[in-house]
Amino acid sequence: MTDKFADETALDAAIDRAVRDLMHVDPPADLRDRVLAEISGGSTTRAVFWPRLGFAAVAVIAAMAIGLTILNRPAPAPVTRISDAGPSTPETVARVPADPPARTPGTATPIPPDRRPRTRGNTARVEEPTRSAPIEDRPVQAASIDTAGALGVDVIGLEPMTPVTRLQAHERITVAPLETAHFAPLPLSLPPITIERMENSPLTDR
């Protein structure tokens, strides 16, 4: 019994010593300095706020200057209207005969069918893409290009590869005004009914 008690006391002492030794560790000496440095880091951040704001303002001004320079540069040369179908508006679509004009050999590269521009009938209208102005809207010029049979014009380069013949306007189609015909039903006439006596032979017994 005494041995057991002594052993238990000894084990308690061993546990106490182990726990005490485990827990008696001191923090690094610079813990306070690191904490205060991190705390004051917020004010440091605020101190560099104004230089950062100034740099941002300069960057914004530079960006605006570049934008104004781009906007004020000379306008590009007007797009040559290849298709001249008279006083047509951009919405005008001229129709031309299905047969393409004769091509000059060796002056044009054939465009594969899958790369040809989409056409309505055998014409297509190419418009200059609308650019969005960074400051204010400004009108942009739209071009209506009649490819006149897409084989003849390099749409991407806008370079005519074959001379385009002048289009011939169709004559105006006139339609006579409709006339309303008068329909009158004919009078209905029925012949008079006559009743005649029908003669039957007398029945005979067999």
Binding site: D7, E8, A10, L11, D12, A13, A14, I15, D16, R17, A18, V19, R20, D21, L22, M23, H24, V25, D26, P27, P28, L31, R32, R34, V35, L36, E38, I39, S40
Partner: protein, 209 residues
């Protein structure tokens, strides 16, 4: 679980919170006063983190984070409890977050904390005894066994045992930190010791004085 914590600070008996004046100054924006609070409580905070994490490196990080968080929240400290107790509660929550972090788990998986080569581990920071070689060997073996067994304890028992064994915290403070009543703290400490002794006896350790 809510634990009512009387005004008590560390080893000191119940009375006015010695940190309260510094707290009021820190609440007014005096960082020097908060620096003094750090200096006064750094050991308690650091050791609580060590008890939770078992690594002085992790405990150092957690202690710093806890102090910074306390500074940011000190405006909301109303003095319902002692400042140290409030600070230790913050530290414990931070330590538990770190204990649950995936990064720490991976690090311990790659290099287990009880590895003999881990110089940052608390086991390696044990002071050496200066006795005869034979006594040193026996004592070292026993202490090594006790430490290893402490680490195998369930966390609830281990936390209570280490916090109480440090001598830096009262049972009331430990209960406030762990969020359990004082009676539960005492039971956990007692149960931890019982389990340890049982395991040591099973291993054949009989302390010869």
């Amino acid at each position: 679980m809510t634990v009512t914590e009387p005004r008590e600070s560390g080893e000191a008996a119940a009375g006015p919170d010695p940190d309260l004046i510094l707290v009021r100054r820190a609440q007014a924006g005096d960082t020097d006063a908060f620096g003094e609070l750090v200096q006064r409580n750094r050991k308690a905070v650091f050791r609580a983190a060590v008890a939770a994490l078992g690594s002085t490196t992790d405990a150092d990080d957690v202690a710093q984070e806890a102090f910074v968080l306390a500074y940011r929240k000190i405006g909301g400290f109303r003095g319902d409890s002692a400042f140290r107790t409030w600070l230790l509660a913050i530290t414990w929550r931070k330590a538990l977050d770190r204990r649950k972090s995936v990064g720490r788990w991976l690090r311990l998986t790659v290099a287990p904390a009880d590895s003999d080569t881990d110089t940052t581990n608390w086991i390696e920071q044990m002071p050496a005894d200066h006795r005869s070689q034979e006594e040193d060997l026996a004592a070292a073996q026993l202490q090594q066994t006790v430490r290893r067994l402490i680490k195998t304890l369930p966390r609830k028992l281990r936390d209570a045992l280490l916090l109480s064994g440090s001598g830096d915290y009262s049972y009331t403070q430990i209960g406030f930190i762990l969020g359990v009543p004082v009676g539960t703290v005492k039971w956990r400490v007692s149960e931890a010791r019982r389990v340890l002794k049982e395991k040591m006896t099973a291993l054949g350790h009989a302390y010869d004085g």
